[in-house]
Symmetry: C2
Subunit: 240 residues, 2 copies
């Protein structure tokens, strides 16, 4: 099935390069994704990659788009969106994004930061907007919220991925915090244990925070409150 050249060598395809790049990023971080390193991994000259990608930037774009495509696969086709309350639909969409991002944490910073007019990006945007419009938001507000929600989700994962802990093991950190002057840092000392622990896999917690914010926004903007949103017709202006 793979294309082969006459001397038995596998041909290089953009998709194969992106796959390899994602694997490299997952294994050793985005910093390891280097034109030269990647070429070596693919048994090819560095400059070979420049036939398929105009620049490294373009390769990074393709990697980001790879994640968007994965998200789309998880989210399923448009018709898949269940008829439940919009909060759940929104949560499901954000959860799908979160799942993919967590699988490729070092690539997360690249997602939704380049402007994505790719097919996958547009389809994901369409789904987000559909849910928010159904929730009663105007196109403008839906856009702002969709953008915020998507970026916040990536940020939640990305920030955690970029985290480097310089000061070694948690026990030493806790001890240092506990030893602080209690009159100057009463709250820090009190929370030394919590502060020294890494915060666990709770992007979920962060997502809930974002969702709660959106819900509060929704309550402020729309006259009704869930459940049973009024019958907002698909394209016509709101009810008379």
């Amino acid at each position: 099935m793979k294309p082969r050249t006459r001397n038995g060598q596998d041909l290089l395809t953009p998709a194969a390069v992106v796959d390899r790049a994602l694997m490299l990023a997952d294994a050793e971080g985005l910093g390891a994704v280097t034109i030269r390193r990647l070429a070596h991994e693919l048994d090819v000259t560095p400059m070979a990659l420049y036939w398929h990608f105009a620049s490294k930037e373009e390769l990074l774009d393709a990697m980001a788009d790879g994640l968007l495509t994965e998200m789309l696969a998880i989210a399923g086709p448009v018709e898949t969106v269940p008829a439940g309350p919009w909060r759940q639909q929104l949560a499901a969409l954000l959860d799908a994004q979160c799942t993919v991002l967590r699988a490729h944490p070092s690539v997360a910073p690249l997602v939704w930061t380049r402007n994505n007019l790719s097919d996958a990006a547009l389809r994901l945007t369409e789904r987000m907007l559909a849910v928010l419009r159904r929730a009663g938001f105007s196109p403008t507000d839906a856009t702002r919220i969709a953008r915020r929600a998507a970026r916040m989700t990536t940020a939640l994962v990305a920030v955690r991925a970029q985290f480097v802990d310089g000061d070694g093991d948690p026990d030493r950190v806790r001890d240092r915090l506990s030893a602080l002057p209690i009159d100057e840092f009463p709250r820090v000392v009190e929370a030394a244990v919590a502060l020294s622990g890494c915060d666990g896999p709770d992007e979920h917690y962060g997502l809930e925070l974002v969702l709660a914010g959106i819900e509060a926004e929704a309550a402020r903007l729309t006259p009704f409150s869930e459940p049973n949103p009024p019958p907002t017709p698909d394209r016509a202006p709101p009810q008379p």
Copy 2:
């Protein structure tokens, strides 16, 4: 006032290096902050910097800490924290962070991603925790929320800073979006104008979203609701 060596040359100090590095980052992005470039800017050999910083990583840490120090200066001493409702106090703290981050957007990704046990970091943490504890959160919850809030704030600015727009001017983007098949992308087409505009300086909007989320969390966790939080004594367990 500046230290000088006998041949009339300014002596290199860590603070001077960090200042210069921040200026460089603000002017040309974090990517321009290079040991060699920075050394050139300071009229010094690249290796001179290695006397003051063990590695580039350590220099980046120092830059991040520079921002934390600026935040602390804006936030003022602990006693400055007004007696108002905790939402406002929290908003003020996050606003201060946002202000500083917006002044150095390209450095934002570095803030709160290395573990900060520096003086500035600890003092900022103390303030955050104090506000959240007064709001009725337990030390553990206060820690989680403080972390989330701080990271989200930096993420809001950082993601925007990392944004690279590849597809040129907004008009062309809008046209492309409007030209999409309307049966496949009804919501995108509908929101073409909103989607093609860059989203303006509304980290403020994002902050409100975060705050709304925290308030919702607070309402869920504490039996009372603002204003007039119960007299939570400073260190003793909650009221009988």
